[in-house]
């Protein structure tokens, strides 16, 4: 039995498996690559020429075109949050206490659920598109052509996308907050008959501007993560169409995981109120 277990760990039996050091090295290398890209992007933010045309295009791509998907996810997120809050208050506190669901719904949505939903939706829709577009440019030598024609690829491709993402994610989050809170209100007041005046009063009484602001700070960070990961994966694409496919998948996976991890640490780091 013992011999069998050792055989399982034998690298000759599993040639794909590599030593842990290999994976640690590969991980650190990738962290270094993203760090360098972030550094170059930040440095190029202040250098001319500013690519206004691409920046405006990306504002539309990231912001305006994400509105339908954000509307749907925020609406159903708000509805389900409203439903569970209603059930919770009704069951555990008692009938009449459901009006206190308002601030809970608003707090949960604006601080956690909407920034995460917006981040995940945009990473799936826009991050993957960035990786696919830049990856295709890479394998067809368009990035080299950019450089040969006097355009720094980081300044031309990464900076406008990162800036647009940084601006549009908080905008989408505010929009999502309104839709989500509206949906929670609709479920509680119009479907379950909770007192409308008390629901609004409690929401306004306990809800603070900082709750919304901290959600916006988070979404701005998510915006930078999505754009940087999408551009980084695009710029390191190799191996034709298969490589582009791999880059898009990796972008969505890495950005989504990072959003969830960073969200936890930001929730810990940002003060509960000001």
């Amino acid at each position: 039995m013992l011999t069998w277990s050792f055989n399982l760990l034998n690298p000759k039996m599993f040639p794909i498996a590599k030593s842990p050091l290999f994976y640690i090295n590969a991980f650190l290398q990738e962290v270094g690559e993203v760090g360098l890209l972030f550094f170059h992007t930040f440095r190029n933010l202040f250098k001319k020429p500013w690519e206004k045309r691409i920046f405006i295009q990306q504002l539309e791509e990231i912001g305006v075109r994400s509105l339908p998907v954000v509307s749907l996810t925020a609406a159903f997120g708000g509805l389900v949050f409203g439903l569970q809050t209603y059930v919770g208050f009704h069951r555990y506190i008692g009938p009449g206490s459901e009006t206190y669901g308002g601030p809970i719904i608003s707090l949960g949505l604006s601080k956690e659920l909407i920034p995460i939903l917006v981040g995940l939706m945009v990473s799936g829709r826009v991050g993957s598109a960035m990786a696919a577009e830049i990856g295709t440019m890479k394998i067809t030598e368009q990035i080299d052509a950019l450089f040969s024609l006097g355009a720094d690829p980081t300044r031309y491709l990464v900076v406008p996308r990162t800036l647009a993402s940084l601006v549009m994610l908080p905008c989408l989050t505010i929009y999502g907050d309104i839709i989500g809170m509206g949906a929670g209100f609709f479920y509680n007041v119009y479907l379950m008959g909770v007192n409308r005046v008390l629901y609004i009063r409690n929401t306004l009484l306990y809800m603070e501007l900082w709750d919304i602001m901290s959600g916006l700070i988070k979404s701005a960070v998510f915006g930078v993560i999505i754009a940087l990961i999408g551009c980084w994966q695009g710029l390191k694409t190799e191996g034709g169409a298969e490589g582009v496919g791999r880059a898009t998948t990796r972008t969505v996976v890495i950005a989504s995981i990072l959003i969830l991890i960073v969200n936890f640490f930001l929730s810990k780091a940002l003060p509960a109120d000001l």
């Binding site: 020429p49 295709t136 440019m137 067809t140 030598e141 368009q142 080299d144 052509a145 950019l146 450089f147 040969s148 024609l149 006097g150 355009a151 720094d152």
Partner: protein, 248 residues
């Protein structure tokens, strides 16, 4: 004008360039021949500063471009125009925007002047009235010509061609050769062409260099290359499967 000194480049364990030395004079056309995958495009990308060598120098009028920062490098690459193997036209832009791209970054011309120069550059490669077409609406030969129009639009004094005749039929390939010769005569540019098409090489070259095993193994006029005693060169220029080159 351009000097490449002891250039080395490896990708992982693959030693692609192992001590390349070459020189390009004003107004000269140098053709680099060699097998597919032997490092010709890698050499070209070092000359324009797209790749950094592991060792060695690329001197453009005495300035080593291998250690320059991006902005300084772009002041030098302003002098280069490059036609890429697959044309590398920007998919999201019209033909006109593609051709004006370098003009907008490298020159101070007004939008009207840029528009005129775009027309003029396209006319030089025999294309008229296609400014508003998208790259996917063009044939392979037209894409090459638009790529060339983009490369010459801002009047560089060195033009680099990466396999200009690859992927197009022999008649169009010859038309591209004529264009290369005309560009040299009209614009007085120095030219480096990477190819494995010997018909083109003999037609356009002042000198031909053969890249093999990471080094320039032969350099000379087309006549000297034709009469070379090097068996590797002979095997390559006659396109024979038998000979000292085995790794095909």
């Amino acid at each position: 004008m351009i000097r490449v000194v002891d250039l080395h480049k490896s990708f992982g364990h693959n030693k692609v360039l192992q001590g390349i030395n070459l020189r390009l004079k004003h107004g000269e056309t140098l053709v680099i021949i060699g097998q597919s995958g032997c490092g010709k495009s890698v050499l070209l990308k070092h000359i324009i500063g797209l790749l950094k060598p592991d060792k060695g120098k690329v001197l453009v009028d005495g300035v080593d471009i291998t250690n320059l920062k991006t902005d300084e490098l772009h002041r030098i690459t302003r002098r280069f125009g490059m036609l890429f193997q697959g044309s590398a036209l920007f998919d999201s832009m019209t033909v006109g925007q593609n051709v004006s791209f370098g003009l907008e970054r490298y020159t101070e011309f007004s939008p009207e002047e840029i528009k005129e120069l775009v027309k003029e550059s396209l006319a030089k490669v025999g294309l008229i009235g296609i400014e508003n077409l998208m790259p996917y609406e063009l044939s392979g030969g037209m894409k090459k010509r638009v790529g060339l129009a983009r490369a010459i639009a801002y009047r560089p004094d060195i033009i680099l061609y990466d396999e200009p005749s690859t992927g197009i039929d022999p008649i169009r390939a010859d038309a591209i050769n004529d264009l290369v010769i005309r560009m040299k005569q009209e614009l007085k540019v120095a030219t480096i062409i990477i190819t494995h098409d010997m018909v083109s090489a003999y037609k356009v070259a002042d000198r031909i260099g053969m890249l093999y095993a990471g080094q320039i193994i032969e350099m000379g006029s087309p006549e000297q290359i034709k009469n070379s005693e090097n068996q590797v060169v002979q095997q390559f220029i006659h396109g024979r499967a038998e000979g000292p080159i085995k790794n095909w």
